[in-house]
């Protein structure tokens, strides 16, 4: 069955002042696909996300989201920004934050009961419903990431854009997040940005490698060479799917 792709980048280039950040980028994301975007810091991942959201305009090329221009489609996108520098003492509760996903350009005063239920459901989906009345600033890093994903889910999105969801969390929390994202990916299209390659292979169909240029790989093809190609440097790979004794390996 051929469906209209959810997200299409067609020959897109973008530059900040004179510095080219993305060069002739073309790719598309199909419905219900689970995609990971990797690349070094400053490689253009976040720029690419902001272009998809219509927060930045491409210098050339076209971007289509859900068959429309990004600005028109953005209400159907659930976005979780990268490590927000929130004021620790900002007086909001977890539910207040989740409810921000239910905002719209019209409507004043209070949120309707329906909107509150959607926000609560999103919190429950992320396993943080019991924290609803807690101050957002008092949460741990992992809880905060979950609340921010819940806020993105409260938008009832067709496309979920997560920018570094595993940043600033410890490995145990990271594993939980991976599991949660895995369940989400079954229902909606998820595009995750990460610099964490271990994260990649576990849950995605395809990997988009961004370092000014874009290369696409099915996950099975990710090898040391490809990684070196993307990151450009001398990179040591650690294989997580392979156990060895405490003394380590004996190489012959």
């Amino acid at each position: 069955m051929v469906t209209e792709p959810i997200l299409i980048f067609d020959n897109v280039s973008f530059a900040f002042d004179d510095k080219e950040v993305l060069s002739n980028v073309s790719f598309s994301v199909q419905k219900h696909e689970s995609i990971c975007m990797v690349g070094p810091n400053g490689g253009g991942k976040s720029t690419l996300v902001k272009l998809a959201l219509g927060l930045l305009q491409p210098c050339s090329g076209t971007i289509t989201v859900l068959g429309r221009a990004p600005e028109k489609a953005r209400r159907k996108i659930g976005y979780m920004p990268q490590y927000l520098q929130y004021d620790q003492r900002f007086p909001v509760t977890v539910l207040d934050v989740a409810l921000m996903g239910r905002l719209s350009s019209h409507g004043f005063g209070f949120f309707s009961k329906g909107n509150r239920q959607i926000a609560l459901k999103a919190l429950a989906e992320m396993g943080v419903a019991d924290l609803a009345t807690r101050p957002f600033g008092a949460l741990s890093g992992g809880q905060r990431q979950r609340v921010l994903i819940a806020r993105a889910l409260a938008c009832e999105p067709e496309l979920l854009l997560l920018d570094e969801p595993t940043a600033n969390v410890d490995p145990a929390v990271e594993n939980q997040l991976v599991e949660i994202l895995h369940t989400l990916a079954a229902k909606i299209t998820v595009l995750t940005v990460t610099h964490d390659l271990g994260f990649v292979s576990q849950l995605v169909d395809r990997v988009i490698c961004v370092n000014r240029f874009v290369k696409i790989h099915p996950t099975s093809e990710i090898t040391g060479e490809i990684i070196q190609d993307i990151y450009g440097g001398d990179l040591k790979m650690v294989r997580h799917d392979h156990c060895c004794s405490e003394q380590g390996h004996i190489h012959d």
């Binding site: 959201l53 927060l55 953005r74 209400r75 996108i77 976005y79 920004p81 927000l84 929130y86 004021d87 003492r89 900002f90 007086p91 909001v92 509760t93 207040d96 934050v97 409810l99 921000m100 996903g101 905002l103 719209s104 350009s105 004043f108 005063g109 209070f110 949120f111 807690r134 101050p135 806020r151 938008c155």
Partner: protein, 283 residues
């Protein structure tokens, strides 16, 4: 202190009553808008708007005396200047790529300088001190009605847009992605800030008005986990500071604006100290 309460109920001496009523009315707007300003971290913008108001007051005095435009009251000049400053600063902040603080500082000082120059050239003697630091003797019955009108308007808009303002203050980019016109709400917030500043100028003056914007909200921030709680607590604190300041200053004939601000400042420092001690105890 008893003098204060006797005077307050004396029908022949209305000015203290007017000052107290004006202060209590303005406290509500200060609690609501001040909380937005503090969590959005734009007290320096509020400071710039406040100082620009002097330009408007000076211009109003000058033109009304010189050209007989008696409808142009200092209050009206203050409102026009405050709104103009809010819009200019807002647009600069939205559109300037960098160094917006330089432009804000420039407006801050030129607004004040213009005010003093206008006042110097206005026929008759005008004491800039009463505008800079407040003078409760200047509050008229008519002022009270203006204050009441502005107060109701500011509070209504401030509460009507509560959820959108909260989202804009917390995460502007996300609010924009939800279709909220964030720039519009930012400008509205600055305009409401401007009008709120005008409310308190008679009582504490241009220079000190920022204290009542930020200090009650800063103290309330320690005791609230939701924005509306912060608004409620800072409204009550602001009411307390105004009442206590007027009461304390009346007997020994101290300037009331600075007394109000001094009480607010000391309360803030005491709260901080108490918190630090309490935290140490917890460890």
């Amino acid at each position: 202190m008893t003098d204060f309460f006797i005077t307050l109920t004396d029908p022949a001496i209305p000015f203290l009553r007017y000052a107290l009523i004006a202060g209590l009315l303005a406290s509500v707007a200060f609690g609501v808008i001040g909380s937005y300003v503090v969590v959005k971290r734009i007290t320096y913008i509020a400071g710039a708007i406040a100082h620009c108001v002097l330009g408007g007051i000076g211009a109003a005095l000058f033109f009304s005396q010189r050209y007989g435009l008696h409808w142009l009251t200092p209050m009206m000049g203050a409102i026009i200047a405050a709104l103009a400053a809010a819009l200019v600063i807002g647009l600069v902040t939205i559109h300037a790529q960098e160094r917006e603080d330089s432009i804000i500082s420039a407006l801050w000082v030129t607004g004040m300088a213009a005010g003093i120059m206008f006042m110097a050239k206005t026929p008759g003697y005008i004491d800039p001190m009463s505008y800079l630091f407040g003078n409760i003797l200047m509050i008229s019955r008519q002022d009270l009605w203006v204050i009441l009108g502005l107060d109701v308007g500011v509070i209504t808009l401030g509460l009507l847009f509560y959820h959108k303002m909260l989202a804009v203050c917390f995460d502007e980019e996300f609010a924009r992605l939800r279709g909220v016109h964030t720039r519009f709400y930012f400008l509205i917030l600055l305009c409401l800030t401007a009008l709120t500043i005008v409310l308190m100028i008679r009582i504490v003056g241009i220079v000190l008005v920022i204290a009542l914007f930020s200090l009650p909200a800063a103290i309330a921030g320690h005791f609230s986990c939701r924005l509306w709680q912060m608004m409620a607590i800072s409204t009550l604190l602001s009411m307390f500071f105004v009442t206590a300041g007027l009461a304390v200053s009346y007997g020994p004939n101290l300037p009331s604006g600075p007394t109000i601000v001094m009480i607010a400042g000391l309360s803030y420092l005491l709260t901080m100290a108490a918190r630090m001690i309490w935290k140490k105890e917890q460890e």
